[in-house]
């Protein structure tokens, strides 16, 4: 049952990810990205972390993509314009993807990660909170939120000519 769900959602994730970059209409790309994010969330759920799965949908598919769509619809971008030399770029992109795949596989072999399923990891909400608020990650976590706040203030300053 888990295996079927995994393969279905993985296939949907990859297929919709291809649609994201292959489509010329930006709104179609955005909707395909939403499908990708939702199928990734199913995979997180299968890995035993409903909390991360749900957060993935709330934050990415729910909040960020709505904002993307809002901007795309506001600007009413009909079609992406062809940039010069598109063919060459596609080739380079595919080459880069293959190299990345090779490096990742080589890394897994060198580190000696065993083939097959990953070890079970307790990723319940309580455990996630304990990890996130442990002395190990607490300062990094808080620093990230300050960084996001700084980015927010920066965006407002840049966007507003007069405050």
């Amino acid at each position: 049952m888990d295996a079927i769900l995994f393969y279905v959602s993985a296939a949907v994730a990859v297929a919709s990810a291809v649609v994201v970059i292959a489509q010329k209409s930006p709104i179609t790309s955005a909707f395909a990205l939403i499908v990708t994010l939702c199928s990734l969330s199913v995979i997180f759920g299968l890995l035993g972390s409903p909390f991360i799965a749900v957060l993935q949908v709330i934050v990415y598919a729910g909040a960020i993509m709505v904002l993307f769509l809002f901007v795309l619809m506001l600007l009413n971008v009909k079609r992406e314009e062809d940039a010069p030399g598109r063919g060459g770029r596609t080739l380079r992109g595919v080459a880069l993807a293959l190299v990345t795949l090779f490096v990742l596989q080589a890394g897994a072999v060198l580190v000696g990660a065993p083939a097959g399923s990953a070890p079970r990891f307790d990723a319940s909400t309580r455990r996630m909170a304990e990890i996130l608020f442990s002395p190990h990650f607490l300062y990094v976590f808080e620093a990230t939120s300050v960084l996001i706040l700084a980015a927010l203030v920066g965006a407002v300053v840049l966007a507003k000519k007069e405050l």
Partner: protein, 361 residues
């Protein structure tokens, strides 16, 4: 000889889904009638009263009419998106329904006095079994509803965009802006409730409110309840937050180009979302199936009565609001969402967190 546990689980799940979806669809059609009648009385009219006694058959007449209406699709519409939009809207609305508990846990009767010829109707494995009308027990139930509600907006946005009509597009635009503005306030309003109960499971949150009614979160967490109610009304785009439809400004907003059954599906999604919001408010803030007075029973049948009464009262409040309040202006909408609800909810979280930390729960 009883079937294997897996089969038993499947049968029970199927029955639960059938009951919940059946009751919801029934409630949806009754709600359309109650809403029209109640609104009419508030506006010194009579409302639909010709079809059957008091007009109660009006929803059936409407359903038949919608089935036989012509389906129109604009020639320049994005075909697959136009067809998919109502499906997305209804399926997200029905998904959110799956993790809500409906009424208290109960035990099935043993029915030992059943004549032996009818025993097969009530097999041994069902007798005395305890359960609750809740389709899926998810650990993060509350967050799951929140996530699905966040996806629900795409039905409306897709409907508005795909029709290739400027009024529909404006409706879709308004909808997406409104949703992500109020989602934040909605999410923050849950936090205090979750901290007090120490669980994301809705049934745990309900049980944390047992006892006298002043222990309900609506009183303990009054600011959170008010923020929840306003934000939830905005999330389901009911008057006074129905800017995505805004019929006096943008024709009919996102469903301008929809007709026949697809229009009915969009309406259905809206009503189911409204019922979800009312059920959630009952469970999180109004003590769910608890009577609020120790001594009065809250389990079994009385629990269902308490619970149903609270949900119906909330649904009536939605209709009442529609009959009472005018629509907000767009800048007022943004002002309330960002400058009132979110700060209030954030400060309230701080207060609740301090309280929980001091109490050492």
């Amino acid at each position: 000889m009883s079937p294997s546990p897996v089969v038993q689980q499947l049968v029970i799940a199927a029955v639960k889904i059938g009951v919940v979806v059946g009751v919801l669809l029934g409630l949806f059609s009754v709600m359309t009638w109650i809403e029209r009648r109640a609104l009419a009385f508030m506006q010194y009219r009579l409302g639909p009263n010709r079809t059957g006694p008091l007009g109660i058959l009006q929803p059936i007449a409407d359903g038949i009419k919608l089935f036989f209406k012509e389906e129109v699709m604009p020639a320049a519409a994005n075909k697959w998106a136009f067809l998919a939009a109502p499906v997305v809207a209804v399926s997200t609305a029905l998904l959110a329904v799956a993790v809500l508990p409906y009424g208290p846990p109960f035990t099935l009767p043993r029915l030992d006095s059943l004549p032996s010829g009818l025993k097969w109707l009530w097999p041994e494995w069902l007798r005395g079994r305890t359960g609750q009308i809740q389709i899926a027990h998810v650990d993060v139930g509350l967050l799951f509803i929140f996530a699905i509600a966040a996806l629900g907006v795409y039905g409306i946005v897709l409907a508005g965009w795909s029709a290739n009509n400027k009024y529909a597009l404006l409706g879709g635009l308004r909808s997406s802006a409104q949703m992500f503005s109020y989602e934040l306030a909605l999410g923050l309003s849950f936090v205090g409730v979750i901290m007090l109960a120490g669980s994301f499971q809705i049934a745990d949150i309900v049980d944390a409110q047992a006892g006298w009614f002043w222990r309900w979160n609506a009183f303990v967490q009054l600011p959170a309840f008010l923020v929840y109610f306003v934000a939830a009304t905005a999330e389901v785009a009911r008057i006074p937050f129905d800017l995505p439809e805004g019929e006096s400004e943008i024709v009919a907003g996102f469903h301008t180009e929809y007709s026949s059954m697809r229009f009915a599906l969009l309406q259905m999604a809206e009503y189911i979302n409204m019922i979800t919001v009312a059920v959630l408010a009952t469970n999180l803030f109004l003590g769910g199936w608890h009577s609020g007075i120790p001594g009065l029973p809250s389990q079994g049948l009385p629990g269902f009565v308490w619970w149903g009464g609270k949900v119906s009262a909330l649904l009536f409040v939605f209709i009442w609001l529609r009959g009472t309040l005018p629509r907000f202006r767009y800048d007022q909408l943004m002002h309330i969402g960002w400058k009132v609800l979110i700060p209030v909810a954030a400060v309230w979280i701080l207060i609740t967190a301090t309280e929980v930390a001091i109490a050492g729960r």
